[in-house]
Symmetry: C2
Subunit: 429 residues, 2 copies
């Protein structure tokens, strides 16, 4: 068959002098010159093939035209619990655009639900679109929108809420919901690392596992449920304040930091808890409706500054002059920064800015009493954030400063464990 | 025995109604109120003990007075290679101060060598003090000092150089030396997570393994050698541009990111390579003296900005106005930031600032062609840093901008693999 007879977007088999390939024929774009064509393999990767080496091209399946997804009308089953799916965008709602080779948002909440018929077997599912954004564009104000939407769903009888969300900033949003919501129903964020029209997509499995846990969890709180390991065996259940995307592309990119994940959930609804029930003391007991609370007050003038050799003290002064109320430092090791920053940090604190310390090691705990550097920073009034993730500390500081402008109260709140974000030391040091 | 008869700093055994403890009696300090005393356990941790619960105190060993370490005169053995140890400070040169309970620098290079007699069996060891700093205080200018000192040692006949360094910013310094030095001798950074007077100190083992590798390595380049796993079995050999401190306190805190470590070294001089020799193509063959080159040109006006939801575009404009020549963004996922930053990023690039993208996922690679966000940033001129660590990308950008102020040359250099910091994709995407 001739290449020109095959429509872009079709599934093709190509034999070359160097081997055979099978994939979707991509449009000529900036990625390929005239001497190459590009196909998208089943694993989601694009490869370029030299035209001069092609010996045969076979059309396996014509380009599928946009399918109209028929929205299935959910039938309420009184024997099942109600689970709401709130869609906010991200890769889970995306598909590959075969014109640009890129990925864009395509599915609404209803379309997502219809595309995954397994959901209807798990619970009475209803869906709402909160907004449709890739998560790098999610702002602190969007956390408030999501928190309000979750609150409404729980108030209206949802026994569990699944929030579909882009993976890039899912950890920040899960931390924000953890502080903003006290909920008698489990709230589960999930998403996908690969879009749903890729063979290797994790979209359906993540969504099903999240819905299973939303329907069956023994306790409430805010969680992230995402692919647990390279194969499709289970998803991990991560606490909302301790979860971090630790790989740019792997499906099992999300890890619980400084603790074990809470458990595993699979598509069949098997839930395995990895921690004893004592560990869940910060998660409210399920189905105590009177415990539903929403508290979205937020001070957005807070910044996360990662320390690096050469960081100029003027960066701190700039933030103070620009009206920032809080700064989370991502220091080195046990919670250090260069001594040439001490003066500007002290000035920031003296002028009413709350400054908190975390570590760029990601894993481990700050301990600012071991070295003189740490003790000097403590004496200046820097708040040591224990084993809190830097990202969680930033979100928490925004939330704390939404509630107080008093330094002592802010310190007390930053060091209070509201949602499992801090594990206290067991020894005095 | 009465508590008041025991000198602070002495080793004591304490029996209480709740159990028995053994450790160094610490001075009363801000850590303990009048009702408590504090002892430092063998594992290095301090614990507070309620005085009212103490049933017996036993003096096990009186406070040791400052020991004068006798400097051993090294005897040159023509059958052994010459290894230089350059000391820059850090925990490896520290001990606990029993007055404050803190840790401070105590040992010079000569004292370090004398304190670890095993070193003399490995090579003809000589030592020099470059400076004495905790590594959070190491500035880009200090990288130049270390690079020059290493250059001098190799030029003067060292077959291997060990640089002792604080662990907090060791990864930044190892990246800097990787770009600044072409060396026919292996250059090994090492340090300690726990000071040498703690029972759990890793100082001696790390130093011995580093010296073993300095003496026996089959190839040259810049490496970090640190504890490999929780026990004392071996150290790992990390490439200088891919190593990161990934725990605040564990002895095995250092990990090679996006690759395997190069190998293992133990105190007995066994070297096990974990990668095949092809992987070492960026490390210069050992003992080709003519290959020694030093190139320390550095532009210090470069910043690392970690993206977070709420990051204000004015932060970018501030850096441009403050005269910064380069910005490394630590974006989300595949290399994204909020679309509300595009304009300020474009303006920065248009005004001559080099902007490069890395990922805060730490692991994985940026891929800015998958989503519109990434493509828009590429179109604006942002340089995608492949699988380079954000910290390495910052150091590299400082070094690149020390060599050119032309945008296209800077881009070309940032995307050139100089010292194993980039692994290219094998597929076109």
């Amino acid at each position: 068959m001739e290449l020109k007879e095959i429509k872009e977007g079709s599934l093709v088999g190509i034999e070359t002098t160097e081997g055979a390939y099978r994939g979707i024929l991509m449009p000529r774009s900036e990625l390929a010159d005239k001497g190459h064509l590009v196909i998208k393999l089943d694993n989601g990767y694009n490869i370029g093939i030299e035209k001069s080496k092609i010996t045969q091209i076979e059309l396996i399946e014509k380009k599928r035209e946009k399918e109209e997804i028929e929205l299935k009308k959910a039938v309420s089953d009184p024997g099942k619990v109600n689970v709401s799916i709130l869609a906010t965008g991200g890769t889970i709602a995306s598909k590959v655009d075969y014109v640009t080779g890129g990925v864009h948002s395509a599915f609404s909440a209803d379309e997502l639900i219809s595309a995954v018929p397994e959901l209807q077997g798990i619970a009475n599912i209803s869906g709402k679109q909160v907004f449709n954004k890739f998560s790098e564009n999610v702002n602190p104000g969007d956390w408030v929108k999501i928190a309000r939407a979750v609150y409404d769903e729980v108030k209206n009888g949802a026994c569990g809420v699944v929030v579909t969300h882009g993976t890039d900033t899912m950890g920040y949003t899960s931390a924000a919901l953890s502080f903003m919501l006290k909920t008698p129903a489990p709230v589960i964020l999930t998403g996908a690392q690969r879009s749903s029209d890729r063979g290797s997509s994790d979209a359906a499995m993540d969504l099903i596992c999240a819905a299973q846990f939303a329907a069956k969890a023994d306790f409430a709180g805010v969680f992230v449920v995402m692919h647990g390991e390279p194969s499709d065996s289970y998803c991990l259940i991560h606490p909302g304040t301790r979860v971090r995307k630790l790989h740019s592309s792997r499906r099992d990119a999300f890890k619980t930091v400084n603790d074990k994940p809470l458990g595993k959930a699979d598509v069949n609804g098997n839930i395995e808890y990895l921690k004893d029930s004592n560990s869940y003391r910060f998660f409210i007991e399920k189905n105590k409706k009177d415990r539903l609370e929403l508290d979205t007050k937020l001070e957005e003038k807070a910044a996360l500054i990662k320390y690096f050799p050469g960081l100029n003290p003027e960066m701190i002064s700039y933030l103070v002059n620009a009206g920032y109320k809080g700064i989370v430092l991502e220091g080195t090791g046990l919670g250090h920064v260069n001594e040439n920053l001490f003066k500007s940090i002290k000035q920031a604190i003296d002028s009413g800015v709350t400054v908190a310390m975390t570590s760029q090691t990601i894993f481990g705990r700050v301990n600012m009493r071991v070295y003189a550097t740490g003790r000097n920073l403590l004496n200046a009034g820097v708040i040591p954030c224990e084993d809190m993730l830097p990202e969680t500390a930033l979100v928490k500081l925004m939330w704390v400063l939404g509630h107080t402008n008093k330094a002592e109260k802010a310190r007390e709140m930053m060091l209070t464990n509201y949602a499992g974000e801090i594990t206290k030391r067991t020894t005095v040091e």
